[in-house]
């Protein structure tokens, strides 16, 4: 049984994405297979060199880079959303797999959830 957590909220301006990340980390901590899919404005989580100091927030890049260490199996990004937000492969943080067909991605998991 594996769970796919979908993040479709931008990294700043709402806490929903961070809380989605906590969900996926918790699954992994309890040895439950879990993966993350970023789509819509959520792909901005995967942008390199984020600098949110000016708005008094921590960079989500660091949280995200801990995902493999916590045992999160896969970090996926919706290709079409990346194109829409001008994110080429060279602008993406490492360890991200691009996904063309989101239906296939969702079908590959027994549970699919959004954080909010």
């Amino acid at each position: 049984m594996s769970t796919l957590i979908i993040v479709d909220q931008p990294p700043y301006g709402t806490w929903a994405g961070r809380e989605a990340l906590d969900m996926v980390f918790s699954l992994a901590a309890f040895d439950q297979p879990a993966a993350l899919l970023f789509t819509g404005a959520g792909v901005n989580w995967l942008r390199k060199q984020q600098a949110p100091d000016a708005i008094g927030q921590k960079s989500v890049e660091k949280n995200l880079s801990a995902a493999p260490m916590f045992g999160v199996e896969e970090i996926l990004a919706d290709t079409a959303s990346c194109e829409r937000f001008g994110l080429g492969p060279e602008q993406l943080v490492s360890g991200v797999t691009l996904a063309e067909n989101l239906q296939d991605v969702m079908n590959a998991h027994s549970n699919v959830a959004f954080a909010g």
Partner: protein
């Protein structure tokens, strides 16, 4: 019909979303239909449903009270995610003491715990249903 077990996750706050109301209607119908609710889990903005201090005008429904009554009447466990709750000022007496806060406001029978209880629901319940706000 085979009875199923459910975990309900509410992430939308009362009065800024309809999530708690929709979830309550769904929960009531589940029991009528003979299903079981393993747990209700409040996450993100949904934790505001567990405030004992919410005081809407008297001609409006008090969603925290409605939910608390439903949970108590049916002996359904309900958990508020601790990280979400602390951020948003939903505090029980333990956390009040830990952080030396001036008060607490967690509505009974809600309890504060970690995401582990959501993970457990994810593993054990036949269905996990989410009620989101509109962000």
């Amino acid at each position: 019909m085979t009875p199923l077990s459910y975990t309900l996750v509410i992430t939308g706050a009362p009065w800024s979303s309809q999530a708690p109301q929709s979830a309550l209607a769904f929960a009531r119908e589940l029991l009528v239909a003979g299903h079981r609710i393993d747990r209700v889990f409040l996450y993100g903005e949904g934790v505001l449903l567990a405030s004992a201090l919410a005081t809407p005008p008297s001609d409006e429904v008090n969603w925290p009270k409605q939910w608390a009554g439903f949970l108590a009447d049916n002996a359904i466990p309900a958990t508020v995610c601790i990280a979400s709750a602390l951020r948003r000022g939903i505090i029980d007496d333990t956390e009040q003491a830990r952080y030396e806060l001036p008060g607490n406001n967690l509505l009974e029978p809600f309890g504060i715990a970690g995401l582990g209880e959501w993970v457990e629901g994810n593993v054990k319940s036949d269905r996990v249903i989410y009620f989101h706000g509109s962000n």
